[in-house]
């Protein structure tokens, strides 16, 4: 199994009416249950909008803070899940079930680096065959 981050991007300036917002929330709840039920849920958070973001950098020993996100763009990171999946196909299937992939938004799948693994390859298929 490998871990992937499901990064949810969307236009945060789109106002949703109450009915749609309620439906989206219900879909996210169902999605969380789906991940948990499949044993794929490894974590995740919803984020406040980029208007609340603070960008921090250290230069010459001084901490400099800037009001706003690191990158200004129309589509902003709105939240993320950490999921467990056997391979990219399985991860894509789970990502496609995320409500964030609909409603004009998109999710970005990023494999997580596994520092604990001794090596990047997996002898399981050979072991299984033997």
């Amino acid at each position: 199994m490998a871990r992937y981050a499901v990064l949810i991007y969307g236009d945060e300036n789109v106002e949703q009416d109450e009915a749609t917002a309620g439906q989206v929330m219900a879909e996210y709840n169902a999605y969380g249950e789906l991940l948990t039920g499949r044993g794929a849920m490894s974590g995740g958070e919803a984020l406040h909008p980029t208007s609340t973001a603070t960008t921090v950098r250290v230069a010459g020993g001084k901490t400099i803070t800037i009001d706003g996100p690191f990158i200004e763009s129309k589509e902003a990171l709105g939240g993320f899940y950490l999921i467990e999946a056997e391979n990219l196909d399985a991860a894509i299937e789970l990502a496609a079930a995320c409500p964030g992939a609909k409603y004009g938004g998109a999710v970005e799948l990023r494999p997580c680096v596994d520092f604990a693994a001794e090596n990047p390859w997996d002898p399981a298929p050979l072991v299984a065959r033997a």
Partner: protein
């Protein structure tokens, strides 16, 4: 290496070398696929280990004899070499032990047929999570077995650029865990088009080499046909797989007539049909017949059928244009695109006259404003209607848009003859 000599040690060196060369031609992809699969998709390591296994064969087979199952011997050897490499890296001790234990069991069957994992490899290389240029490069490297320099040359990029593209693609396969697996039945309709598109792209790059002075690069066409044949061998019941190979063979059958001795382009209308390779066309016909009866025919089967109608006409004038227009109508249903509409209009122009063709072209001008063949088709129809000034303007626009020297020379010739 754990193999037994098959023909005794009496084999001479050149026979053994020939056996290695034969295995390289016929087994390379199978061996790479087998090794990659057991390494969990590390294509880079699999590639190096495969190369070492063939080098080992060259070294050992002249003295030990050719093993009864060369492919099995090569896979086992390549897996051993992969372990050696990992052991040298020294940080993989525990995994190496596991792999070795597995291999001890596996090597007992080194003489039995190895499972064919080429299809898994193909679907991995043509995975939609990879950019199309990465899919093409990986397929040519890992499935067709072309060298980095050859691929770079074929796509007119520097060798370093191509090497980087391949490294990046292989890293993504490994790190994002693009799986070595054949999609399930219900996924296949979504995954197969990418595989077919890669093969067709390779063929087209060879057939109408853009931006290159040479019109056709037969080596690339041949590689695409090889890939098409491999797909037919592995997926013999998929109509679009049969259709793609039929289409490639029909294009190939016309190749000898498509360029004049001076290298200039000869249009279908003016080709010497006695130069066509009718053996290839007959092979394509058989594939097409097998595909046509099955559900799931798509753009490749229909395009092949259109090419087959041309192949069966004794001359351009004898072509059954009504049949061709009907096939384009069908093609429009499965794959509507302005280019399909353009070809349909051209066929109408030939069947029902230039005025009808020009009427069918109306409405495509916006979509195809920058498409060379729109303007050359239009120029041809205008010329036949005697509207020479408009024809000239249209040929000039086509000339501005033409990519390769051969096609530019052709259009310049048309312009001069007005």
């Amino acid at each position: 290496m754990g193999s037994r000599p098959a023909g005794g040690a009496g084999l001479n060196g050149s026979a053994a070398r020939a056996a290695v060369e034969h295995a390289h031609r016929t087994e390379w992809t199978r061996v790479l696929a087998g090794v990659a699969s057991s390494l969990g998709g590390d294509l880079d390591l699999a590639e190096e280990a495969t190369a070492e296994a063939f080098a080992a064969a060259l070294e050992h087979w002249p003295t030990t004899g050719v093993p009864p199952n060369p492919g099995g011997w090569l896979v086992t050897t390549a897996r051993r070499r992969a372990i050696d490499r990992l052991r040298r890296a020294a940080i993989h001790r525990r995994k190496v032990a596991e792999l070795e234990a597995a291999l001890d069991t596996a090597s007992a069957t080194a003489d039995s047929p190895i499972p064919d994992e080429r299809l898994e490899l193909i679907f991995c290389c043509c995975h939609p999570a990879l950019a199309v240029d990465a899919q093409v490069a990986l397929t040519l490297r890992c499935v067709a077995g072309l060298g980095v320099a050859e691929i770079a040359h074929a796509f007119l990029v520097g060798e370093q650029t191509m090497a980087k593209r391949l490294v990046r693609a292989k890293r993504k396969v490994r790190d994002a865990r693009v799986p070595l697996r054949v999609p399930d039945r219900d996924e296949l309709p979504h995954r197969l088009p990418a595989v077919l598109a890669v093969v067709y792209l390779v063929f087209n790059e060879g057939y109408s080499a853009s931006a290159d002075a040479q019109l056709v690069r037969p080596d690339l066409c041949a590689r695409a046909v090889d890939l098409g044949r491999m797909l037919v061998e592995l997926l013999p019941n998929e109509p679009e797989v049969l259709g793609l190979l039929a289409l490639l063979l029909l294009h190939e059958s016309r190749r000898p007539a498509r360029t004049a001795p001076d290298g200039s382009l000869v249009l279908l209308a003016e080709q010497d049909r006695t130069l066509w390779d009718h053996t290839l066309a007959r092979q394509a016909g058989r594939l097409l017949n097998a595909a046509w009866r099955r559900p799931g025919c798509g753009r490749y089967v229909i395009e092949a059928a259109i090419a087959a109608v041309h192949a069966s006409a004794a001359s351009y004038a004898d072509t059954d244009w009504t049949h061709i227009v009907r096939l384009y109508d069908l093609l429009w249903q499965v794959s509507p695109s302005p280019v399909v509409a353009l070809n349909r209009a051209a066929a109408i122009g030939l069947g029902d006259g230039p005025a009808a063709g020009l009427a069918a072209l109306n409405g495509l001008a916006d979509d195809l404003a920058d498409y060379q063949y729109f303007h050359s088709s239009r120029a041809d129809l205008l010329h036949r209607l005697g509207r020479t000034d408009e024809a000239r303007t249209a040929y000039q626009r086509a000339l501005e848009l033409a990519g390769n020297a051969t096609e530019r020379a052709f259009l310049a010739g048309r312009l001069a003859s007005l």
